[in-house]
């Protein structure tokens, strides 16, 4: 049976693209999820306003919640992503999340004995929450793009 020259390979490549997109859809999370994640990780910083003890407790609770969330997400999607390439945009966004969180937490921790006001921890928590959410959304976009095109993130 004669097949037109490009018909079969085009169909095969379209099938590949279709299923890569389906996997990308599985790993995609909505912006709301990243906003919640930002708030979750801002909680320990904000809790410093109530004292170092509360900050430590909130940090422990946040770490446990993040671990559980991560397990649930992997379970639900049924997908394990490849390791993130150190030089990738994904890694850069992740580094920004970590950097701003450490900076915010440090500013909050140092401000308590100096000023005694809860304002700085709350502002620092807000900054961290916004950066985490924004970078989280960008990470999601990068992971989806890489998965759709069959690349490493």
């Amino acid at each position: 049976m004669e097949t037109s020259k490009n018909e079969l390979p085009v169909e095969q490549l379209e099938l590949i693209t279709q299923y890569q997109s389906q996997v990308a859809t599985r790993i995609h999370s909505y912006a709301f999820g990243y906003i919640l994640l930002g708030l979750l990780w801002a909680a320990p910083i904000a809790a410093l306003a109530a004292g170092f003890g509360w900050g430590g407790f909130a940090l422990l609770a946040t770490a446990m919640a993040t671990g559980l969330w991560s397990v649930r997400v992997t379970r639900k999607t049924g997908v394990r992503l490849t390791s993130i390439d150190r030089g990738s945009k994904t890694a850069t966004y992740g580094a920004w999340i970590l950097f701003i969180w450490v900076l915010s937490a440090s500013a909050a921790a140092l401000s308590i004995p100096l000023t005694g006001t809860p304002l700085i921890p709350l502002v620092a928590a807000g900054v961290s929450a916004v950066v985490t959410a924004l970078m989280g959304i960008r990470i999601d976009r990068e992971l989806v793009r890489a998965t759709q095109s069959g690349e490493d993130a």
């Binding site: 389906q22 049924g78 390791s83």
Partner: protein, 112 residues
């Protein structure tokens, strides 16, 4: 120039499985079955062909919450290479370096 399709990868369901595996570390069996829209037995049959060819590997891990075993499938190096070669072949065909004549069980194609 002669080109040969990799018959293991060429079948639509197996090509779909390879496409899904191509950009992730591993996919769980249930996710593959659901994305293909087939039964457990059909999915298993195709996965067995890929396993016998040495293109994929299975890892059984207990679920972190329920502790029930879950099967995770990932490409082997040979499988990833074979898939990349298949994609490259398709792209070359589209670019016009070969043409498709009769497709038979040997899956040989010949250039004009």
């Amino acid at each position: 120039m002669k080109h040969s399709f990799d018959e293991v990868i060429h079948a639509p369901n197996r090509l779909a499985i390879c496409a899904m595996l191509s950009s992730v570390e591993a996919i769980e069996f249930g996710a593959i079955r659901d994305e293909l829209g087939v039964s457990d037995s059909v999915a298993s049959k195709h996965l067995k062909v890929l396993t016998d060819a040495g293109y994929i590997s299975f890892e059984s891990k207990p679920d972190e919450l329920s502790k029930r075993p879950r099967s995770w499938i990932s490409f082997t190096a040979a499988g990833a290479s074979a898939f990349n070669d298949y994609v490259a072949l398709m792209q070359r065909l589209i670019a016009g370096s070969g043409s498709i004549g009769d497709l038979n069980s040997e899956t040989a194609i010949q250039a004009t």
